[in-house]
């Protein structure tokens, strides 16, 4: 794993949105735009955007219980060879299990949720959660592939 200390202390870009699912598409397009500008191939940019969509959706659905007047701040940190994205929010802390997600078992249980975290972990090189003084942070890092 590469050293995440190479990222700047302050974000290169940040946005604060209301906890509304109608804003997800905007976040996806913004993330795709930033990652493409930062030389991620289009296919990688698409996947990183999907991981951010999943993370923000989880915040709206589970931490804010679909309340639409809460706030979510997304920060983008750019460094040579990688991008770090931090998502700050309040509400309920995330319930993230390290257990491997088994789709066949989920089908038997008729579950409709739980795939988002699997997508995030599959797409990104690192996904971590922490809560400090009631503020939750989801941090994701993606390194560019070296040819």
């Amino acid at each position: 794993m590469k050293n995440s200390a190479i990222f700047p202390q302050k974000p290169d870009f940040s946005i604060t949105i209301l906890s509304q699912t109608q804003l997800l598409k905007m976040v996806v397009e913004l993330t795709r735009h930033i990652t493409t500008l930062f030389n991620f191939p289009a296919a990688e940019a698409q996947k990183i955007s999907l991981a951010i969509d999943e993370a923000v959706t989880n915040v709206i659905k589970h931490s804010y219980n679909n309340e639409t007047d809460q706030h979510i701040t997304i920060e983008y940190f750019l460094a040579p060879g990688g991008i770090k994205i931090r998502i700050f929010y309040r509400g309920l802390p995330p319930d993230i299990s390290d257990e491997e997600i088994n789709v066949s078992k989920m089908i038997k249980k008729k579950k409709k949720g739980g795939l988002g975290v699997k997508l995030m972990k599959t797409i990104m090189d690192s996904v971590t959660y922490e809560t400090v003084d009631g503020e939750n942070c989801c941090e994701m890092i993606k390194w560019q592939k070296t040819i």
Binding site: K47, E54, I107, K110, K112, G114, L115, G116, K118
Partner: protein, 120 residues
């Protein structure tokens, strides 16, 4: 213009759902409502045509996951066809391609239902 559109039609006893556009958590209720309607009307052979679907998140995939067992218990199936490489890859990332039938062509997919006789 709507970000997501859904329509359905019956073809040789198969309910074909055409998804178009961007299917995320904001749009997913419409997809679930249509799938429930089909199942309530005893349509258990369901084909999801994603030819014009350009984006899907776990919210949409979760709906397919949530109803597949019920449909298969009734002797039917949910299959998917005509997906773009990008959307197919999203399904592949969560392992759906090992559990669901993905077919490139709609007509071939409809024919694959022909040996299935849903339970009453």
């Amino acid at each position: 213009m709507k970000n997501f559109q859904i329509r359905s039609k019956m073809v040789n006893g198969v309910a074909v759902l055409y998804l178009k556009g961007h299917l995320d958590a904001h749009q997913v209720a419409r997809f679930e409502k249509e799938l429930i309607r089909l199942i309530k009307e005893n349509n258990f052979n369901i084909l999801i045509n994603g030819q014009d679907l350009n984006y899907i998140t776990s919210a949409g995939m979760g709906i397919i996951m949530g109803y597949i067992d019920e449909v298969r218990e009734k002797g039917g199936d949910i299959k998917l066809c005509s997906l773009s490489d990008r959307v197919f890859e999203t399904f592949d990332l969560v392992g759906f391609t090992e559990i669901y039938d993905f077919i490139k062509d709609e007509q071939v997919a409809i024919e694959k239902f022909s040996h299935i006789s849903p339970k009453a």
